[in-house]
Structures are given as C-alpha cells and as structure tokens.
Amino acid sequence: MRPVSLIEGGVSVLDRNDVDTDQIIPKQFLKRVERTGFGEFLFYDWKNEPGWELPVNPILATGRNFGCGSSREHAPWALEDYGFEAVIAPSFADIFYSNCTKIGLLPVVLTEDEVRGLMEAGSASIDLATQKVTWTGGEASFEIDQEIKRRLLEGLDDIGGTLLQQDAIDRYEAGRERQGPVTTFEGNAARPA
C-alpha cells in the first residue's frame, strides 16, 4: 500500500444515497482472480444511463451509506483503479469503509452540508495528517481512527503489524483457545471429500 498524505484536485459528484456495492462493481466482474483491472467496470450498469457523468478525479463526493451491501473488496479496488484516491460522504457502510482503509483509498466522513459545499466547489484538498478538508468557500475537519491514520500515512501492511504480536497470539492459543480441531473433524485436511 502506498502512503496516503495530501490529496488535492477535482471532485467527481455522485449525488445518490445508499449506493450499494452491486452498483459499484456488478457481480459478473467478480470472477477475476487478480486484484487489478476493475476500474473499467466501475458503475457498469449506471454508466450507460443518459446524463451519467463521472470524470476521473482524485476525489469522489457522494451520498449517505455509501458502499452498503456485499463485502466485496472489488468495490474499493474498482474505485481506486478508476483513479479515485479518496471518497467523501456523510456516512459509509462498515465493511466498505474498512476495506477502503486496507488498500489506501481514503474514506472521509463530513456532514451533509459540507459534502454539498464541496460538490459545488468542484475541487478540494484533503490533508490526512491534520484531518482537514478545504475547498473554495469552506473547510471542515474529519474523524479517523488514529491507528488507521498511522497505517495510511506510513503505507503500512496490516499483517506485518499483527505478526509483531505473534507471541501474544501464541499465548492465547496455548491458554484460552477452544479445545479440539474444528474443521478437520474428519482428519482429512486438504482432501476433497
């Protein structure tokens, strides 16, 4: 993951609430086994609607509960591959928000009025370090979990971080783990039954 710091530039507007991940990347494109190349399928069904316009910009501004529905990480992959570096909305679905932070696509929660102001301004600047968004005619602060912020700023791999706690995991397994194998009840791991 590359580090996230200052994100500046144009704002693309998708003024809809409850945009679900089936719209962001429809199911027929989930069959790939790679992580890349999803951008061309972003909003695949919506992009043929008359009046649809979603220019490639660093920032996407959108409505409430963005990214609801399935857990597919293909949704943030597609947004990032399309060119977005940050998504700003009044609220996000939980799994989508978490998935964004894992790949370095910055999710920013602002109030409805702030999002509206930024949509009208057409461009903005997001400073993760100071947790501030500025646009012509306004500015706002946003909240973010400090651990997530640190990882994003440094571009850190989650797994590497957790593996530093390997001793704690070992101790947990030695002491508190549930007894007995769970999935290998037949004793035939790795052999299709």
Partner: protein, 452 residues
Amino acid sequence: MAKTLFDKIWEAHEVAEGILYIDLHLVHEVTSPQAFESLRLEGRRLRRPDRTLATADHNVPTDGSTAAAQIRDQLSRVQVETLERNCAEFGVPIYSIGSRRQGIVHVIGPEMGITQPGMTIVCGDSHTSTHGAFGALAFGIGTSEVEHVLATQTMQQRKPRSMLVRYEGELGYGVTAKDLILATIGQIGVAGGVGHVIEYAGPAIEGLSMEGRMTVCNMTIEAGGRAGMIAPDETTFEWVEGREAAPDPLPLDDWRALRTDEGASYDTEVVVDASDVSPQVTWGTTPAMVVGVTSAVPEPAGEGDERALEYMALEPGTPMSEIRLDRVFIGSCTNSRIGDLREAAELVKGRRVASSVNAMVVPGSQQVKAQAEAEGLDEVFRAAGFDWRSAGCSMCLGMNPDIAAPGERVASTSNRNFEGRQGRGARSHLVSPKMAAAAAIEGHFVDIREWE
C-alpha cells in the same frame, strides 16, 4: 459488571487491544484468490488450516455438475479450480463442487455442527452474520482481511457499539422469520444498524427454529449491522447435538453462560412489535423498501424512492397483490434450508405453478438436497412445475447461469433487491418461502394467511 452476550464473546477472544482471535474462518472462491496469492508472494504460512474451511458456492452451476472441469463459464471454472488448488497447497479442508457436503458457506457450517455457540467466525461474505443465530460473533470481511486471518488467525477490529432489537408479542399465523426481519429493516432502515452488533431478543425470537433464527441474523447486514446474534438456548443445543463436527458431550455449562446479564446495557435499543408484523413484500431496490402484502405500493418519499419505482416499473397505489410475476426463486443463504423447503412444499403440494411463471428451487447444500429428496419434496416441487436444482448461491446474485432477464419480475426468498442483483434490469421482490410458493402458484402475490 453486567455484560451483554456480545461483551462476553468479545472479551474471551481479545488477544491484545484491537486484535480479536478467530475460531473459524470460512472461505469461498470469489473473495479468496487474491488473499492466497498475496500469502504466496509474501512467503507467509497459513496459521491454522484446522480452523479454516472452504467450499465453492457463488459460481457453481446448479445443473448437477460434479467437478470444476464441467463448469462451462471459463472465468467461473478458473475461480473454482483456483480455490481447489489454493486449499491443496495450504492444507485447508475443502468441500468443492462434487462433494456431498458442498453448499452455500452459511448453510454448511451450521449443518455440520462446525458453527457453535460462543465462537468468533469470519468469512469474506457479508452474510456471515447468519452464524450469529447460534450465539456466535460472526463478521463479514473483505479480501485484505481474509488474507490477514489466513496469516494470523486474528482480525484487527475496534469494538463496535451494541444494539438490542427487542421484539414484543408473538408472530401471527402465517408470519415467518423472514417477515420479521424484513419488517425490522423497514422500521430501522438500511443504515439503522451501522457500527453496531445487533442482539435480537424476545418471545418471538425464542419461538423461532434455528433455521428461522439464521434467517433473521442473515439479514442483519441489510440493516447495516456489523453482526447479528441470538443467545443460545435449548433449541440451539438440540440442533447442534449429534452433528458430525459437534463436541461430544456438548459443553453445556459454558454455552448456558452465553446470555446477556440482567441489567446489562446496550448503546442503542429498538423495540419492534412482532404481533403487528404481516407477510412482507419489498417494492423497491433496498430491503427497507418493504410493506405488508395487504398494502399498496407507497407514494415516493424522495428521489431515491422515485428512482426505485421507475426501476421497478411500479405505480404508487397499486395493491401489492396485483403485482404479476415472471419468476420465482426459492433459495439463498437466507432461505434454502430444509425447513424452508418443507414450508414451501406444503403449500405447493397438489397444485400447479402458474403458466406465466418460471419457478425454481435451489437447496442450500447437497445435504439439504439429499434430505429433501429422501422426504420426497423434490417430487412435490417437480410435480407442481418447479425446476429442482443443485446447491449453490444461484439466482441470489446470478454469478452462475441462473440469471433473470432484463425486465423480468422475480419473487425471491433471497436477501437483496438491489438494481441488477439477480440479472441486469431484473426486478426483485423479497419474500418468505411461503409467500414465494403461493406467488408461484397464483402468478401474483397473495396473502398466505387467507390463501391457505
């Protein structure tokens, strides 16, 4: 201090601040290939194959194919073959296409007794909340998190807030778990549970079978909830006992302690009047756009509603019972278990599917299919004109060939009525298995309380 069921399971699994131990990791073909590939590239091992279980469900054709090589869609075939190869390489038990235990990941875990009270369970699928029906804490996760769990058997997670949905009163005649959860989502909205783990409680919940409880917990994500759970009780223990992966004897003292203490508090509490719930039908493009079958399509309350009505080609004021259907789908991780099929079969027995309707039943697992066939349910469905299929996710999301055509209107027992979910341009109405069965016979929705 008094604790909730959620607090107790959370605390028992906290390895360190923000790191939660995972007892069971379920894996399927769609959200795992990139995770296995990263493990390989980083040279990391899979920490606990004995706490990991894989199956193929999203992509599999339901035509009775018994090997990945028989899958005609090349991309689907590659995805299933990739899963099989990854599991062999990393030592993960797998029940792939052709296995007698293959099926939808959220159906096979409980049916083998692998899903147990008090566990933490994750899967790269948002409907993982299903397993909360057993008093487990079960999260849907993305592919990066799948990789994290494969490598560390833990997930990084801040503790979500807690919510109690308390049902007052009992369910009326002909009203099912599906109607209860649809009405709940209608009441709290598609973002009503965001940031929360929801515990469902009350006499209406206690009166449900395990299958009904799974239906309720399954759709927690449609209200935005992080997880859904129900305290285990005698119904739970009876269901788990004797299943092939269940402990023998059951650790009942531990499991009976998995209840919210008297006086424990939740961050949010919601009361739903269960006795007021009628058979539900969705009219729009989110599961919260729902009304009772005796109601009419509502007036739009905003741009989102207008857009939904246009997509669904519905006029406000149209009685729900006058909506005519092209297809009926009975299946999905929400409603494809043996109890669901029995309920539907009872209603279609001796009747015929309307000539204008194409109806299909897709059992949730090969074991459900075998059980249904042993009971003769397949014959009941076939005689009525239903297509009887093999196990998989099927038309819930149409990643396999089971797809509705543009403009077709579907009565579906699945969980999402999003635009294009069941096929580009297809119009989905979510209902219970009973409602779907009756709609297949009549060609339009009916109030099953009067119809029976």
